[in-house]
Structure formats: C-alpha cells, structure tokens
C-alpha cells in the first residue's frame, strides 16, 4: 500500500514537471558575426597663412565600443535571426565567464545601413547557397540626437559578400565628425557566423501570439 501511494505521488510529480516543461523552453537560433570597423579620418589641422595641414586619426571597433561605453573587452556583434522572425540587430556584448554569458546591450539604433544596389553570382545546391554578392551600401554610426555618441560617420561603400557564410567586406568612403569635421575612408566588415541559441522563458508564448516583435 505504501509503495502504491509513493508511486502515485511520484507520478503526479512527474506530471507536474512535464506540464511545466510544456509551458517554456522554446529554443531559438540566430547567427552572430563580429562587426569590424577600420577607418582613417582626415581632419583639417593647424596651419599658417601659407601652409595647410591635415591630421589623421584611426577609428576601429574598439573606439566605437568605447564611445558606446562598453568595456575594453566588449565586442560589437551582428545578430541575424535564423529560425524566427525578426530584424538584424547590432549588440554590444560584454565578455562572459565559462558558465555565465556576458551582458548584452542592443545598440541597433546607433547603427544604420541600407543597400542602394545589388547584384549577385550564386548557385543553390542541396539547399545551400554559394556565391558572391556585390552591392553599394550606406553605413552610418551615431547622429545628432541627444545622447548620441561623440562621433559619427556617414559612409558609402562597395561591398562584396560571401553568400555561403554571410561574411562581408565593404570599402567605404564618406564624411564624419570626430571632434572636427572629417573626411573618412576605410573598411567595414563582418566575420564569423557562429550559431547561437537562446531560450524564450515566457510561459504564455505560443505560435499564435508570435507577432514578429522582438
């Protein structure tokens, strides 16, 4: 009799555990790439009545991270949805530990890009796309709104993208502000492409309620 009651209680605990499992643990996948910036800014320097000078400054991803108040080891990541609906996001990711992922901050609003024209040479085989895409793109960082970073750029570039892994490399030129007006040239690229999964803990989440807002 005791065994029967114990078995019944165990069954109920198992049932309760199963019920709680149904209500959560939706795993989603995204692709995370490193966003890399390497720019040279040309700023009008001091001079005399007869001599004009130019000062140069280098701007890398670490400088942008610093302006976004990230730590010295934080990195900029481009997050692309794989199995869910959503926009490409830019996040500032702080380093984590072996057991604890680092903090993430959404900085998508600080970055903007658009594609003006695109052509591609590609092939689809076994549901895999390979090839290269060529495009003219615009990349901006910062702006003149309150609380914006202390520098900005507005660049246009010739971009080649690897369709098989999403890596792209853009040779860019444009204008910016780094404490003074600047003429800028350089490269913006994305490398990597690691798959990452994350869990939606919301117990009320269902397919029917997915409205695409993430």
């Amino acid at each position: 009799m005791k065994h029967m009651i114990r078995f019944a209680v165990t069954g109920m605990v198992l049932a309760a555990t199963a019920a709680s499992t149904i209500a959560q643990d939706i795993t989603l996948t995204s692709s995370a790439q490193n966003l890399n910036v390497a720019l040279t800014g040309y700023v009008q320097g001091e001079g005399t009545d007869t001599i004009a000078n130019v000062q140069r400054v280098r701007i890398t991803t670490k400088d942008l991270v610093g302006m976004l108040e990230g730590s010295s080891r934080a990195r900029l990541m481009l997050i692309t949805p794989v199995d869910y609906e959503g926009d490409v996001a830019v996040v500032l990711r702080e380093p984590g530990t072996r057991n604890q992922p680092g903090e993430e901050f959404d900085v998508t609003d600080v970055f903007y890009s658009e594609t003006y024209a695109v052509v591609e040479k590609s092939r689809v085989k076994n549901d895999r796309v390979t090839g290269t895409q060529y495009s003219i793109d615009r990349f901006t960082f910062g702006g003149d709104w309150e609380g914006a970073p202390e520098a900005w750029y507005d660049l246009q570039g010739y971009t080649t993208s690897n369709l098989s892994n999403g890596a792209f490399n853009s040779t860019v030129n444009g204008v910016g502000w780094v404490g003074s007006d600047a003429v800028m040239t350089g490269k913006i690229s994305a490398t990597g492409g690691k798959l990452e999964t994350f869990v939606i803990p919301d117990p009320d989440w269902t397919d029917d309620e997915d409205n695409g807002d993430w």
Partner: protein, 210 residues
C-alpha cells in the same frame, strides 16, 4: 478513494503529459519558424535576403558537420572542410582581436606566418582590430617576407594605420585643437588683375574739404 484508483489516474495523467511533452520538444521549431519567416514578408530587401540566406547556410553547415561527426564517416568534401576551417579560424582571430592581453596579440601575429593566405589576411585584419602599435614590427617583418605584392601592400598599410593616433587617444587628449587656419585656396590660382573700386571713396579720403 482506493489507492489503485489513485495510481491508475496518476499513471494515466503522467502518460498523457509525457506524450505531449515529447511531441512539443521533438517539434522542429527551426523549420516551422523558418517557413513563417520566408512566407511573412513577400518583399524583403536585398540586405535582409543576404542575411537570412547566410544565416540559413550557417545553420545548414553546422547540421552537415554534426551529421558527419555522429555518423563517424567523413562525407564532407575537402574544400568544404577547409572553407569551414577558414571561417572558424577567422572568427577566432577576430575574437582574439577584441582582447587586450599580450598572449592574444602573439597568437594573432603568429598567424601572419600561416601557410594559408586567407588566414594570413584574417590575421592582418585582426592585428588592425587589436589596435596595438606592438603589432607594427611583426606586420613589417611579414611584409618583407611575402612575395605577393598585394599582401605586402596590405601589411604595410596595416602598419601605417596602427601608427596613427586612435580616436580614443585623441579624445583622451582633449580632442583636436581648435582649427585656426584661415581658409586659403589649396591650389595656387592666378592673381586677378587689379580693378577700380566699385564704390566711390568718401570725400575725406580724397582730401576734399567739406
């Protein structure tokens, strides 16, 4: 209520919920959501298409790798494996580029000697992103060793880039000093011929008594 009844009800409940859990967990979330993604927006921009296609490719690539390792039979073509290796190594180098310690820099600089040109190019980019002038000697050394003119140029340009002050350094120093240079034509233009003043001078200037 009899214990046997309790037992029967609890067991039946456990079986039903267990089956539901199994169904829910084994549901191919990725495929379902991916189909929704493709069908939801009939006219995605080119950039979005690229990102989605690339992300799908990365997913397919990982699936292929997993199926290979689980079966134990290498089915990937050598070039696929090599391209995956380049992608992974490049990602690793870019991860190291965001660090600040000397060992990370040394790992990056060691890859400037890699036999694979793609890895060497990735190491050059990583050295730029590491943003330390300590990388300059190794970059110039690698430039002297290579016989590829494009690679040599990339390495020298990387070294020259690192010689520049960084924006962080400029900001820490208080920014660029105020520009006092008065606008002057940067190209020498021919001096225009003198011409008579358009406005007549005041009588006092000509010494005419009032």
């Amino acid at each position: 209520m009899r214990p046997t009844t309790i037992l029967a009800v609890a067991a039946a409940l456990a079986v039903v919920l267990g089956a539901a859990t199994y169904y829910k967990l084994s549901r191919p979330v990725a495929q379902t959501e991916q189909q929704q993604l493709v069908g939801s927006d009939p006219t995605p921009s080119a950039g979005e298409q690229l990102q989605v296609k690339a992300a799908e490719n990365v997913a397919a690539s990982r699936f292929q790798e997993e199926s290979t390792t689980t079966s134990g039979i290498p089915v990937l073509a050598p070039e696929v494996t090599h391209s995956n290796y380049i992608v992974q190594r490049t990602a690793k180098l870019m991860d190291l580029a965001m660090e600040n310690d000397d060992s990370s820099l040394q790992t990056i600089l060691a890859e400037l000697n890699n036999r694979d040109p793609a890895i060497r190019a990735a190491a050059t980019e990583a050295a730029i992103q590491f943003s330390s002038r300590d990388a300059i000697p190794a970059l110039l050394d690698a430039a002297n060793r290579t016989e590829d003119p494009k690679e040599k140029q990339a390495l020298v340009e990387a070294a020259e880039f690192l010689k520049l002050p960084s924006l962080t350094e400029v900001r820490a120093a208080g920014g660029f000093r105020a520009v006092t240079f008065k606008a002057k034509p940067l190209r020498k233009m021919p001096r225009p011929p003198p011409r008579a003043p358009v406005i007549a001078p005041a009588p006092e200037a000509l010494g005419v008594p009032q």
